[in-house]
Structure formats: structure tokens, C-alpha cells
């Protein structure tokens, strides 16, 4: 039983989200297995991004957004409970956004930002190590090692997105949320990021929202299909893409709607 609890990075139960009077998520229950890549797919406006942003409480800042339901981190910590501060939570659950959003600071400062805030390094050399290691894991170190003090916004789009991933893993999260991380990138940069996601799943649980079904099938072990705020089907990627249980899922992945 204990094994069972611990194998889930995040468990959610009966999640509903409203923007004002409009329902965005309707009674979704889904568990995310550890060290897997889970893809959230579905047509635009199906609520998959909203759901993703609930997991690290990024919806908190939107006044009209009301989140209900149960969210458990590692099966025990209530994500919306009083026992955890939102900053501590986000230290454990990192996020990469659709559009690369490096800070207008140097490459080094971008990666060092999180570790500095959370006090992860006591000396400058420790900080240097964290930055170097994170950039290395994001596969960016070789490209930028000679210009760590250059402004990060001068990097290419793909490099910027890998920098954002490096920035996210620099605070050593357990889970990384990715909200369509490749939609603003060209195919080569996309392939690079997909490769990276594949490497990262050794150490992290990754939940990724994607519009590309081929991407979902390439990179993820589990896939969840959302439609109109409801979770239609959730299971192994191979199963979802070959013989889904639900008619709707089949229609979507074969391109009959969406």
C-alpha cells in the first residue's frame, strides 16, 4: 500500500475549476506516476493548460479563478493546504512556459536566480556548480560556457527555452510542468527539447501539455485526453494511440475533430 502511494508524484481527485461563472475543469480525477512523462492532450480550450497551472498554483494570481478538489503531492502533502507555502511548493514543482521567458539578465543570473532565492548555495563556487550542472543537464552548457555574462534575451528561441528548463531544474524540483514548451520553436529546436525531456525523466516527473499528438506519442509514457473540461481518457501512451477505450479519443487522435 505504501508502495502504491509513493509511486504517484501528484494525485488529484474531483478537481473542478471555474473562471467566474464559466466552468473550465469539470470533476477531473487523475494521478501522475513518478519519473514518467505524462502528456495532456486535447483541443484548444479543453482546460489542459488550466489544469496544469493548478498543479503549482499558478492560477492563484487570477482573481476570478476558483479551484476545488483534492491535490496531493507525493500522496501526502495537500498542495492547496495550509501546511505548505506556495513558494515552497513551487520549489518542488517547477514550470516551463509556452513562450521562452528568460529574465533580462545574464545567462548566469537567469539560472542562479532560483538557487539564490531558496538559499541552495552557501558559497559562490557552490552556486557556480549548480548553474553549470543545470546548464549541462539542459544541454546548453557547451553553447554558452564562453558567454555566461551575456544577456539571456540574446539567445535563440530554442536556446532560451533550454535556458528556461535549466533555470527550472536549478532549484532541484521533483516535478516539472511544461506548458506547450515547443510551440514557439522550429522543428530542430523542438527535437532538441524532446531529446532533453527524454533524458530528464530519469530524475524528474514531467507533465507536459502539448498540441502535437506526434510529440505526445514520441516523448510520453502516459497520456491524458481532455475535452471540454473533462478528462475523457487516461492511460499508457501506447494504448491511447493504438486502441483507445473511448470513441471520442479515437476521433481526436485520428484527426476527425479538434
Amino acid at each position: 500500500m505504501v508502495e502504491q502511494v509513493n509511486s504517484f508524484a501528484i494525485k488529484t481527485k474531483n478537481v473542478s475549476v471555474h473562471y467566474g461563472n464559466k466552468m473550465a475543469i469539470d470533476d477531473v480525477t487523475i494521478n501522475f506516476t513518478k519519473n514518467d512523462v505524462t502528456s495532456l492532450i486535447g483541443p484548444s480550450g479543453c482546460g489542459k493548460s488550466t489544469f496544469l497551472r493548478c498543479l503549482n498554483r499558478m492560477n492563484d494570481v487570477i482573481d476570478s479563478c476558483k479551484v476545488q478538489g483534492e491535490f496531493l503531492l507525493n500522496g501526502v502533502t495537500d498542495i492547496y493546504g495550509d501546511s505548505i507555502q506556495v513558494e515552497t511548493l513551487r520549489e518542488k514543482i517547477g514550470m516551463v512556459f509556452q513562450k521562452p521567458n528568460p529574465f533580462p539578465k545574464s545567462i548566469f543570473e537567469n539560472v542562479a536566480y532560483g538557487p539564490k532565492i531558496h538559499g541552495l548555495a552557501s558559497t559562490q563556487s557552490e552556486l557556480n556548480d549548480i548553474v553549470m550542472e543545470s546548464l549541462n543537464r539542459a544541454g546548453l552548457y557547451e553553447e554558452v560556457k564562453d558567454r555566461m555574462d551575456d544577456i539571456a534575451t540574446g539567445l535563440s528561441g530554442g536556446q532560451q527555452q533550454r535556458l528556461c528548463i535549466a533555470r527550472a531544474i536549478a532549484i532541484r524540483p521533483e516535478i516539472i510542468l511544461m506548458d506547450e514548451p515547443c510551440s514557439a520553436l522550429d522543428p530542430i529546436a523542438t527535437a532538441r527539447i524532446e531529446e532533453l525531456i527524454n533524458e530528464l525523466k530519469e530524475n524528474y516527473t514531467i507533465i507536459i501539455v502539448t498540441h502535437s499528438m506526434s510529440q505526445a506519442s514520441r516523448i510520453s509514457q502516459r497520456t491524458a485526453f481532455f475535452h471540454l473540461g473533462k478528462l475523457i481518457e487516461h492511460g499508457d501512451t501506447s494504448k491511447i494511440f493504438t486502441k483507445p477505450d473511448k470513441e471520442q479519443t479515437n476521433d481526436y487522435i485520428t484527426g476527425r475533430f479538434g
Binding site: N56, M58, V61, D63, E87, T88, L89, R90, E91, G94, M95, F97, K99, N101, P102, F103, P104, K105, Y113, G114, I117, H118, I151, T153, C164, R167, A168, I171
Partner: protein, 478 residues
């Protein structure tokens, strides 16, 4: 007369627009000719062709009216010694002839006694010249009218006739319009240059009396000493040595501006941060306009607020703790000025903070940063250029502000950095020197231009600095 002509001109333009457009449409539908521009452009084409030469010539006539008058009237035949006259005398005579020309052709019965005596006093040659002048004015008036009405009509018809399938009106019209808008912007620039040059020339006049070194580096400001200067006689330069020392005015200006910035920068910046990052939309929608009202209060109101409420209050408070406070302290003027420029800082800073993309905030929050960490480490650095720009704009406003300091600051130049003492500013002294007896051959008056020029250069420098900083950071952050 001129209004009448202008009205006719407007009517003519309207008519020609329709005539031109009509002819183009006619060619298109009845003549089956393919036009190379939209019909509207042919209308504009005719109007521009009809009006522009007329307006240019009218402007030329206006500009050279005086020269023509002189050429026509002031001939050496009538005035043999004209080449020896000074400009002043020439002007006087021309003035006299102008007056004569109004009455010289009237019947004697219609004249008043005064006018008759003017006629009697004039010499024969002057009367002839006055008659010539009257004729000239008549011709000038008629030629103006011709220009305004007949020339446009002729040109308009010629332009209308020239409309054909081959004429491409659009590029011509667009080119002319481009010249017109280009000209408008040059006019604004030329006026600025003109103002600057007038300052420079009057300042040069001033520096004929006062050594620039004395002006810029001397510490005594006693402009009343300049009363010893008499235009007709010489004066002793030593008298003016310590009369126009700019230094105490500069320190006074900087002192008051510093007090103002000490008030405005923290209050303005913090309210900007509150409005942009913490306030709910409802609070922001109400609070921002209210803060901006501060900038709309007439400065004279701030002036008497500073002079009548703030200054006595500061004096009382100071004296209750045993500090000697002047009734016209720099502190009072500076505080009032600081309140006035709060909105310059807050409103502009709020805009630039709001302009920082939401994605940067999200990025920071997603890394587990708190709101204040995000503001300090991400948002403010990203908005720094704009914030610095707003500071410099506020400083430049503070240095140039006049009414508050005229009312609340002292007139006495006082070389001090103590805000509890009285101090005067550059603008206050400019106002003082141009009030009352104004003589443009006395340094006491002329010093206004030297001060104005210095002030202008100071604010110009600040603006250049602001632009450079903003540019530098923009490059860095883009």
C-alpha cells in the same frame, strides 16, 4: 479683405476638388479611359495645383512687402541724401509716409485739423512719396486679390485640362503632401532654434556688461547694483563684479529641486509599485486618476499652499524643537514642489512597470519567488530605464518650475545647503528681473536671458542624459 479672400479660396478649393474628380470619373465611364489613380486623387491634384503657387507667391509678397515698399517709394530722386540715412531714420520716415499715404489722396474737407497740419508740415517730396506709397498699397492689394482668386482659377482649369489617362495623380499628390508634413515638422524645429538664438543674442548683450567668468563663478547676487549703469554714459565694470553671480542661484535651485526629489522619488516610486503590482484593478482605476490630479493642480495653488500653509507650519515645528527656520525656507518650496511632481514619477513608472511582460512575473513565481522578490529582482531591473527616465523628467520639471518658487521661495540669494534657510532659484530671479521697469540696455534686465539660456542648457543636458540612459538600458534588455 483677407478673410474674404480666404473664404473665396476655400470655396474655390471645394469646387476644384469636385471638378477634378468629376472629370476623372467622366473619362473613366464615358471616355472608357483607364485611370492610373483613384478618382479622389485627381480632385486633390487639381486643388493642390491651383492653390500652392498662389499661396507661395502670397507668402513671398508678404515677406518682401517692406522691401518692395522701399524700392517703390524711397528713391534717391525724391530723397537725394538717402544713402546717408541710418536704419532708424529710414524707419521713421517710412512710418511718417505710411501715415501720410492714408490721408494724402482724400479730399481736404474730410480731414480733421490735426491731419491737415500733418499734411502742411510735410515737404513736397514727402507728399510725392506718400502718393507713390498709396499707389503701391493699392497695387499691392489688388495683386493680392488677383493672386487669391484669378491665379488659382487659371491654374485650376489648366490642371483640370491636364487630367488624362496618362496623368498619374497619386504619386504627385503624395509627394506634395509629404513635403507639406515635412515642412510642418521643420517649422517646429525652426521655432525652437529661433527661441534658442534669441536667448543667445540677448545673453551676448548681457555679457557685454558682465564678464562671463564673473557670472558663472562669482558668489554674489546683487542685481540692484546695476542701477549705476546708464546707457548714455560709461560705467565702472568693477561695480558689476559681484552683482551677477550665478552660483547662489544654482545652489538654491539644486537645493529646492533636491528636496523635491527626496519627496517625489520614494513616494512616487512606491505608489507606482503599489498601483502596478499590488492594487486590485478597482483600486487602481480609482487611485491612479486621483494621483494624476496632483499634476493638474495649477502651480500657483501649490505656491500659496507652500507660502501660506506649509512654510508657517514648518517654521512652528522647527522652532518647537529649537531649530531656527526661515519663513521662506527652501524646505517649504521644495516640499510643495515634491508633491507636485509625485505624479510625474508615479504615473510614468507605473506605466513602465505595467509594461514588463506578465511572462517574466510568471517565470519568477514559477521558480518559487515571492511577490516582493519578483518585484525587486525581476520587474524593477527590467523597468529601470523607464523609471530613470521618469526621475530625470521630474528633475527637469523641478528645475524649471517657476510659480511655486516665486511665491514660496525667497528673493534673497543665499549660498547655502541648509534647507531651513531661505534660498532663491534661477526661475524666480528671471521673473524678478523682468517685472517692473524693464530696460533692455541694462544688465539687470538682460540677465534674465543669460539665466534663461543657462536653465535651457541645464534641462537640455538632463533630457539628453535621460535619453542616453533609456537607450542604453533598452539595448541591454531587448
Amino acid at each position: 479683405m483677407i478673410y474674404f479672400a480666404l473664404l473665396i479660396l476655400v470655396i474655390i478649393s471645394y469646387l476644384f476638388y469636385y471638378i477634378g474628380k468629376k472629370r476623372a470619373l467622366n473619362l473613366k465611364f464615358n471616355g472608357n479611359i483607364k485611370l492610373s489613380s483613384q478618382p479622389d486623387y485627381f480632385g486633390y491634384y487639381v486643388v493642390l495645383m491651383a492653390l500652392i503657387p498662389a499661396l507661395l507667391m502670397w507668402f513671398g509678397l508678404l515677406l518682401f512687402k517692406g522691401n518692395f515698399q522701399e524700392m517703390f517709394v524711397m528713391s534717391p530722386i525724391l530723397f537725394p541724401d538717402i544713402s546717408t540715412w541710418s536704419d532708424g531714420k529710414l524707419g521713421l520716415i517710412l512710418n511718417k509716409l505710411n501715415n501720410l499715404s492714408v490721408i494724402v489722396n482724400l479730399p481736404l474737407d474730410d480731414l480733421t485739423n490735426g491731419e491737415k497740419s500733418i499734411l502742411n508740415m510735410a515737404s513736397e517730396n514727402e507728399l510725392t512719396a506718400a502718393k507713390n506709397l498709396a499707389n503701391f498699397d493699392k497695387i499691392y492689394g489688388w495683386s493680392n486679390l488677383t493672386l487669391f482668386i484669378i491665379l488659382p482659377i487659371i491654374l485650376g482649369f489648366l490642371a483640370t485640362r491636364s487630367i488624362s489617362g496618362k496623368l498619374n495623380a497619386q504619386p504627385i499628390v503624395e509627394k506634395i503632401i509629404t513635403y507639406i508634413i515635412k515642412g510642418s515638422s521643420y517649422i517646429a524645429i525652426l521655432i525652437t532654434i529661433g527661441i534658442f538664438l534669441s536667448l543667445v543674442f540677448e545673453a551676448i548683450n548681457f555679457f557685454r556688461y558682465v564678464n562671463p567668468v564673473d557670472f558663472f563663478f562669482s558668489t554674489g547676487w546683487n542685481p540692484n547694483r546695476a542701477f549705476v549703469v546708464d546707457a548714455s554714459e560709461g560705467f565702472d565694470k568693477d561695480d558689476l563684479e559681484n552683482a551677477f553671480g550665478f552660483i547662489p542661484l544654482l545652489t538654491g535651485t539644486l537645493l529646492i529641486a533636491t528636496v523635491a526629489m527626496i519627496v517625489a522619488i520614494p513616494l512616487g516610486l512606491m505608489s507606482a509599485i503599489y498601483l502596478a503590482e499590488y492594487a486590485s484593478k478597482r483600486v487602481r482605476d480609482i487611485a491612479k486618476p486621483i494621483i494624476e490630479i496632483l499634476a493638474g493642480i495649477p502651480t500657483v495653488v501649490y505656491g500659496f499652499f507652500a507660502a501660506l500653509s506649509l512654510a508657517p507650519f514648518i517654521k512652528d515645528v522647527g522652532e518647537s524643537v529649537g531649530l531656527p527656520v526661515s519663513a521662506e525656507s527652501a524646505l517649504a518650496a521644495g516640499l510643495a514642489m515634491g508633491v507636485m511632481i509625485i505624479p510625474f514619477v508615479s504615473s510614468l513608472s507605473d506605466d513602465v512597470i505595467k509594461a514588463v511582460p506578465q511572462s517574466l512575473r510568471d517565470g519568477s513565481y514559477a521558480l518559487g519567488a515571492t511577490r516582493s522578490e519578483t518585484i525587486k529582482k525581476v520587474i524593477l531591473p527590467a523597468a529601470l530605464a523607464g523609471i530613470m527616465g521618469s526621475f530625470l523628467l521630474a528633475v527637469s520639471r523641478a528645475i524649471g518650475e517657476t510659480m511655486i518658487v516665486v511665491m514660496a521661495a525667497s528673493l534673497r540669494a543665499n549660498l547655502t545647503f541648509n534647507p531651513l534657510e531661505p534660498a532663491t532659484t534661477i526661475t524666480t530671479q528671471i521673473v524678478t528681473s523682468l517685472i517692473g521697469d524693464v530696460e533692455f540696455d541694462n544688465p539687470k534686465t538682460l540677465v534674465a536671458f543669460a539665466l534663461g539660456l543657462t536653465l535651457f542648457l541645464m534641462t537640455l543636458l538632463l533630457n539628453i542624459l535621460a535619453i542616453t540612459i533609456v537607450k542604453k538600458y533598452r539595448e541591454k534588455y531587448e
